[in-house]
Amino acid sequence: MNTTIMLFLVQDGITNGAIYALLGLALVLVFAVTRVILIPQGEFVTYGALTYASLAAGQMPGTAKLALALGIGAFAFDLFVARKALHGRLVVRSFVTNIMLPAIVLALTIYFAAQKPPVAISIALSLVIVAMIGVYLYRIAFQPLAHTSVLVLLIASVGVHLALQGLGLLFFGAEGQRGPAVLSGAFTAGALRFTGQSITVYAITIAFIVGLWLFFGLTLYGKALRATAVNRLGARLAGIRTTLSGQIAFLLASVIGALSGIMIVPITTLYYDSGFLIGLKGFVAAIIGGLVSYPLTAVAALVVGIVEAFSSFYASNYKEVIVFMLLIPVLLLRSLAAPAVEEEKD
């Protein structure tokens, strides 16, 4: 094997793997806190990417309107739940966060979309829009189901995925898009060429891993989230608002998803339905990490990325087969090593 090719493949694999790592982390986070297996994670990726690409191309992204529509829905849910004990402060707070905020963002988006905004503004708007979609989705689709089984949550997650994917086609059309590089420029070291884009990917992934680690280890909200993950009822009894934990988890997941999308879209063309497969590879990493361990998930994601890079070079036909079948030996190992712990399910 040619060393240059090998190095190139490894580099390519690490870049993709870094993205999978981020998505894997988000999936672990959401599952641990809310028990939702977040299939729509892939849609957060495409929404982030395509919103960014649309804005950069001077087009109005439909996602901003979706955010407002979902916000109105969330407002209605809030009012309905509190209908027996409505009071002014609650209504105002819900109105501000669920309707005013997305309305302002929509206005800004319309304003900026008309004049091809600079990269920084496009990124900021895309992130805010997708973040709002994530939080409102939790409010509308998952919070009312928080008490049900993992299976029901999973099916609801599939429903959300289908709806979002359909909306994606409506908003962005069937053609793929590419966005401008977040950081242009490049340098070479030996045989390898590092683009500003790939450096950004590495930097952001590392920043997020460190950031999440600090967030969960040091902050009160982080600890509250961990407490919710371990024991929902216990956390509530200790005064932690578990719905808030859920919202934070979805907020982080949607921001991570959108950011991953923005980082990929300058490298690869993304279509409205590309997210599903990308998200699934994050899943593969998350499963290898056991859905609990962040560092293991990150390492597994790098392995998935590298395996994918090599198999697309040597057996491109069987690339997906190899990536997904990678799980079988891992599952085998896990099942052999699995301790016989009792679980009370339902």
Binding site: G159, G173, A338, K345
Partner: protein, 589 residues
């Protein structure tokens, strides 16, 4: 058991539908599709709703069924009827392979694992040369009987619905049997089931194979309905769709699978054909509406539609009381009239740095009630778990009738005639008291899954239920026999656990806090029952906190504190033992 009448009516209605004058042929196509989906969903009901094993990979098994018959009938010219068993066998074999890997996974690994191999297999279908890659295989011969070829959707309709109704009957028979009870106990964790000899990995593998074979059957029918196969209907999306068919219908109910299939297939059809009229615009609007409706449906009826519909029917009260004159043969027992039944010698259990049980030794003689007492955290329940094989001791030995059993799994311990109850009640709440108790007699029955499906197990089954009913009467719960176990008070549930343990026909009964949650009179009745059992030749080892109960009942008491045995003797000597008083009341006492 439910009456067969509604099923017969359903079968007649389905048989009559094609003869209704003016029936649009398109409706028959829809019904064909519903039947195909219902077969897969039915397997998922058993796998997911009843067994608690979520699978996204069922579409792949449909693919195995379809591709097997496609390849064999086109490339090798076999008759479709010959490929039917082969399709089922291929699906079943792959289920064994994948099942061995996946069913041992717990909780969320399992659905994600199935999603992953489901995707992998889909890509494999679409890449393999002999399966025709993405184009698939076409020109598959139709099913035929004699010279009659089932070319139209209306003629294969009967093949499909006969398959659906037969599969539903077989599946329901399976659930209502010895094996079925073991399967239904899976969802509540494996410790209780294993304590009565159920081999849980084998039971899980069994439902996995059952579901895969039903999916394979659906695939075989699909191939001969379409007369062409390509990879698309066997992908991840389809796998997900089958799962939500089961959930929408009601994942715990066989007919919920059929109902769910009807709802989802019709809903998709309606959305696809009418939505563009209301909301003109670029495609996929139906996917959006479909997704939203799915979430809304789950929020309104998280348990699925079948149980929701059933709640409108008048409640079925009671069931037939089993004929208690039928007798199970007694377990053969070692001739140990006098002597040591159970010998625990320097048993030690460490969890990391914590020593839960510290070199404890004691024994239980024949015809003796021994109480194990001690403050909370003294290691009593851990000792129980060591004896029954749930945990294995770090060091020391445990022997039953002189035979060492330290490394034996729970299924082997119960075979020796040691049965137990649990500190935290482990019953299946949505099964009746009778069915729960019958799990205790699991090892005394012999019928396997196949004979259960074909109802060849009835003689065996009647004896098991008779034994269960006898033990329920013995503990005084005859009136509650047909109630759901989850509806009983906690104290009564503990008594149900005792009846279940008695069904083993044990020589040694291990009771973990049997009197907790009982009223005074109930405690006295329990004490009388335990004395009666002892006088009948059984030994009892019990953990209990109610000192009055223990002191009046036990022949001998063993006291543990912080994992160490601090005293042993008759109730009278224990009451005055200074070590025991210190452990319970502190130093100054």
């Amino acid at each position: 058991m439910q009456s067969r009448l509604p099923i017969l009516v359903f079968a007649l209605v389905m048989a009559a539908i094609p003869f209704v004058p003016g029936m649009p042929p398109f409706w028959i196509v829809l019904l064909d599709n519903i039947g195909l989906a219902a077969l897969v969903a039915m397997g998922l009901v058993l796998l997911t709703g009843v067994g608690g094993l979520t699978s996204f990979g069922q579409a792949a098994f449909v693919g195995f069924g379809a591709y097997t018959t496609a390849v064999l009938t086109t490339a090798y010219g076999l008759s479709p009827w010959l490929t039917l068993p082969l399709s089922l066998v291929v699906s079943g074999l792959f289920a064994v392979l994948l099942g061995l890997i996946t069913v041992r996974l717990s909780g969320h690994y399992l659905p994600l694992g199935t999603l992953a191999w489901g995707l992998g297999l889909f890509y494999l279908f679409s890449k393999l040369e002999f399966l025709g890659r993405n184009d698939g295989i076409s020109a598959i011969p139709p099913l035929s009987v004699g010279t009659f070829k089932m070319l139209s959707p209306g003629s294969i309709y009967y093949a499909i619905w006969v398959a659906v109704i037969l599969s539903a009957l077989l599946t329901m028979n399976l659930l209502d049997s010895r094996t079925g009870r073991a399967i239904r106990a899976l969802r509540r964790g494996h410790v209780a089931a294993e304590a009565f000899g159920v081999h849980t990995p084998r039971a899980k593998l069994l439902v996995f194979i059952h579901a895969a074979v039903l999916a394979g059957l659906s695939g075989w029918l699909y191939a001969h309905l379409q007369r062409a196969v390509n990879p698309t209907p066997f992908g991840a999306q389809a796998g997900i769709e089958y799962l939500f068919i089961a959930v929408v219908g009601g994942a715990g109910y066989v007919w919920g699978g059929v109902l769910g299939a009807a709802i989802v297939v019709v809903l998709k059809e309606v959305l696809q054909s009418y939505l563009p009229l209301i909301l003109p615009g670029s495609g996929q609007v139906e996917t959006i509406v479909f997704g939203i409706m799915l979430v809304a449906l789950l929020q309104l009826a998280p348990g699925g539609l079948w149980p929701w519909l059933m709640s409108f029917l008048p409640e079925r009260t009671g069931g037939r009381k089993p004929d208690t004159s039928l007798k199970l043969e007694q377990r053969s027992r070692a001739p140990a009239e006098a002597g040591v039944l159970l010998q625990v010698e320097k048993a030690r259990k460490q969890f990391g740095g914590v020593v839960a049980v510290n070199n404890v030794s004691f024994d239980v003689q024949a015809r003796e009630i021994v109480a194990l007492i001690g403050p909370n955290g003294a290691g009593k329940s851990t000792t129980f778990n060591l004896i029954t094989g749930v945990l294995s001791a770090t060091s020391g030995s445990i022997s039953v009738l002189g035979k060492k059993v330290d490394k034996a799994p729970p299924q082997e311990i119960v075979k020796l005639g040691i049965s137990r109850t649990f500190q935290h009640v482990k019953l299946v709440p949505d099964m009746t008291v009778l069915e729960n108790v019958a799990i205790g007699a699991h090892l005394r029955g012999h019928s396997g899954p196949i004979s259960s499906m074909l109802r060849l197990d009835r003689a065996d089954e009647a004896k098991l239920l008779a034994e269960a009913a006898r033990q329920i009467e013995r503990v005084g719960l005859a009136d509650q026999m047909h109630q759901l176990a989850g509806s009983l008070s906690l104290g009564q549930q503990r008594i149900v656990e005792i009846a279940r343990a008695l069904c083993v026909d044990p020589m040694l009964l291990l009771l973990d806090e049997p009197a907790a949650g009982l009223r005074h009179m109930e405690k006295q009745r329990l004490a009388a029952l335990l004395r009666e059992l002892r006088d009948g030749g059984m030994s009892v080892l019990l953990v209990e906190h109610d000192m009055g109960f223990v002191m009046n009942l036990a022949d001998r008491i063993v006291v543990l504190d912080f994992g160490t045995k601090i005293a042993e003797g008759t109730p009278a000597t224990i009451k005055t033992n200074p070590e025991v008083i210190k452990a319970y009341l502190g130093v100054a006492a």
